[in-house]
Symmetry: C2
Subunit: 485 residues, 2 copies
């Protein structure tokens, strides 16, 4: 299969006119018919495709889409209205390559795939790399999944079933089972001959794994070394022995961190007994790195996975649930205000100034919390520098509290000519700044130690601290100093 | 140079005992002496290094650090207190390889490098890839930079000066000038012989660029294709013509998006006239993808680049400036409250409930804003689906406003037995939810259209909208309906 595919690939490349490359992806960062300078599909282009589809002119749509790269076709599906997507799919059936499906947004693919009969899904899945096929099938419900698997060739089915047996988001699901592994006794010449002759190899690979008799990886050779070494050299003399092995059960976030840390292009995946079972390449990891890094912002804001293609009811459910929880913290904070109703009645200016104390606390806490969550996610913050981090945030909070507190106290004095009120405001802002800084660093670290994802849960606790204590500091101090008397 | 380096590399790999790989990076995800299960340096290990350094036992420190991977040595520097870092550097001078320097956090490296004499920096820079050398030198002040460049070999200096002539964060700074390019008339056999014989090639490369007489790239060959093709085949028949060319002036974020979109391992960089001038490989892009994706959370929170190794005064300046601006929005909001002092005096319950209206608005707006900022950053949101996005957020806001507004109105009625107050609360929450949803989506999109980074500026405007209008809706409606009469 791999060899045939390869011949096709060669023919395709050789046939493509040179000019096409320049049209599809203009080298000078210039614009093409379909892509703007930032490499996004032009609105005008999308509009023309949409019009062609709506007017039933499939051929015109086909001609428009045909020159696009699979990744751009996938983007086009996302940009179209959900109702236009099946129209496009049926207009361009023979352009709907495995690459297009693999590049497509999960939600968009799910909606499209749901409408297809099991045979068609099976046919697409057989063309995909195992990891992409798994990504497509794992979202189907159990019954549909079985129906699709039943339609597949036994060999492909076995690969997918084996991948599905690993937990979601693990290396086992991510890895490809197509890799090149050779025994340790080979020379560079043996290997080159083997690569030329074997018809069962993947088309694209970056390194060759050298395995012992038990199929345990003992080293790895980059192709550039093999190409440059004399034929007579033994592989064990060129290979790099020190390699990063990925256990099959490792979480994909962990895999991504290792690829990043050790600047890997590909890595061997081993099972519990240390046998080589697959490989992961960096192109499969890049979108995980992007997702994992970007999801902190979304999780901290309670926007779930924040995908703009997610079905609306699901999005509303996620977001409303978050707001509902946060309403609880708001009620808690407002019940603190209720405690001091009498104090406010006597000096209503307190109601005017109190949002400033909680607002500044909330903003300062968000800064600290976000930094802490990112530092934990990127493994920059460990037990070794915890204490340094806390001290650091303490100083930042002190500086902010005094600096901004003094500023507001002066402004307050100028407007209200009330020394005590200004003093209370200063004190409340200093206290709430320290509260914000320490909550912002200690709450995510504590949650992380309890194995709770700090990105998901920190905001609620931190906001509760700054709002509730913010009101309490300001109104409580005012009451204590009998400002309103 | 490349060839000598390569021989060294081979010797090193061949000499390393097999067992070492298993110690350094345990395959089963198990622990080693120095690394925990999540591949972070163990606190106990860091403590032992710190103790050795503090007690002046450089040799013990050396023995501890010696088995570590360069990336882990770089991490170790970050985890140590700033005062211990120069001690470690002098204890392990011959382990301080270019790789360690390249992997190091910018701030940590800057502090370390500042203390070194120009000759030493020049010597390190000469060992580094151009892009890493540039990263090290670009932070030095003009004078020190010149001093270092003066100490370097003319060839290396020219490469770095040429890189520094490109704008910061552009492809020109990121690219490596070591790549393999061959003329189009070659066969696979010619190329293989050339690769074997040439001594001036980089040690690691993933593809060979084929160029025409003007040095314009016309195609690219993956090494795996070359290894598998018969010697007699012409390169132009195996090469892929359709390739992604990166203009030398392209912003690194844009470069990262292309690598991601087209799943690239390496790509050719071309100058204004289309000549091949360098290549960018995915390992240089991975940390940009991670940074760019992660920075949205930090920018939205006003935490600057959020690096925990940034010098404290700089961090305080960034964070306080942000809080200062936000204090302005808080003052604006509180001046709205001041407008209604009379109303609040008559019904102090308004002061109790008003934080709930603004709190919910703020949280809802943050969700929408974060989703919008991410979608813009990842090119998911373009003019083609703007309208769909706005309608989507409108529905979400409507659902949230009615759902949570009704909930709070019922709670308010149960506690305060005041139909009008409950009705005002419901209305204010619905209005502020719509305000939040629309501000959250329109403000980042508007800023983006004005070429202002929405991640940096959205929060201030969005918060102003939800706080100011939130108070205004609630207190204004209360006044309108004369609740307090």
């Amino acid at each position: 299969m791999a060899a045939d595919e390869r011949e096709d690939a060669l023919l395709t490349h050789a046939d493509a006119p040179v000019a096409e490359a320049e049209v599809v992806r203009a080298p000078e960062g210039g614009e093409s018919d379909s892509l703007d300078k930032e490499n996004r599909l032009k609105p005008d282009f999308v509009r023309r495709v949409r019009e062609a589809l709506d007017q039933g002119e499939s051929e015109r749509a086909y001609d428009l889409v045909e020159p696009l790269h699979p990744a751009d076709i996938a983007d086009l599906f996302e940009l179209l209205d959900p109702s236009d997507r099946p129209l496009l799919a049926s207009a361009i059936t023979d352009l709907m390559s495995a690459d297009v499906i693999a590049e497509m947004n999960d939600h968009v693919r799910e909606l499209l795939v749901e409408d297809l009969p099991a045979e068609d899904i099976a046919e697409i899945a057989e063309q995909l790399d195992t990891d992409d096929a798994v990504a497509m099938l794992e979202d189907l419900d159990e019954e549909d999944q079985q129906a699709v698997l039943a339609e597949m060739e036994p060999e492909d089915r076995a690969a997918i079933e084996s991948a599905l047996s690993f937990p979601e988001e693990s290396a086992g699901r991510l890895m490809s089972r197509d890799f090149v592994a050779v025994p340790e006794h080979m020379t560079v010449g043996d290997l080159t001959d083997y690569l030329r002759k074997s018809r069962e190899l993947p088309t694209e690979f970056w390194e060759v794994f050298i395995v012992d008799a038990r199929h345990h990886p003992v080293g790895t050779c980059l192709l550039s070394w093999i190409l440059r070494a004399p034929r007579s050299v033994a592989l064990v003399d060129v290979m790099k022995r020190d390699q990063t092995l990925i256990p099959v059960g490792m979480d994909q976030e962990e895999v991504a961190l290792r690829f990043q840390k050790y600047a890997l292009i590909s890595a061997a995946v081993v099972d519990e007994s240390g046998r080589l079972v697959g490989q992961i390449t960096v192109d499969d990891v890049v979108h995980i790195i992007q997702e994992e890094a970007g999801e902190d912002a979304l999780l901290l804001s309670g926007a779930g996975d924040g995908d703009i293609n997610e079905p609306l009811p699901q999005t509303i459910r996620t977001r409303m649930w978050w707001l509902f929880i946060n309403l609880g913290t708001a009620i808690l904070a407002s019940s603190v205000v209720a405690l001091f109703e009498g104090t406010i009645t006597r000096l209503v200016t307190l109601a005017v100034l109190m949002p400033i104390v909680t607002g500044m606390g909330g903003n300062a806490a968000t800064q600290t919390m976000t930094v802490t969550v990112r530092a934990l996610a990127t493994n920059q913050l460990t037990s070794s520098n915890t204490w340094r981090m806390i001290v650091r945030e303490w100083w930042i909070a002190t500086a902010n509290g005094w600096g901004l507190g003094a500023l507001m106290a002066i402004a307050c004095q100028l407007i209200y000519h009330d020394w005590w009120l200004s003093f209370v405001l200063l004190l409340a802002m200093i206290l709430n700044s320290l509260n914000a800084g320490l909550s912002g660093v200690l709450i995510p670290m504590g949650l992380n130690r309890l194995k709770i994802d700090p990105a998901v849960t920190s905001t609620v606790f931190v906001t509760t601290m700054t709002d509730t204590l913010g009101f309490f500091f300001f109104l409580g101090l005012a009451d204590l100093f009998r400002l309103s008397a």
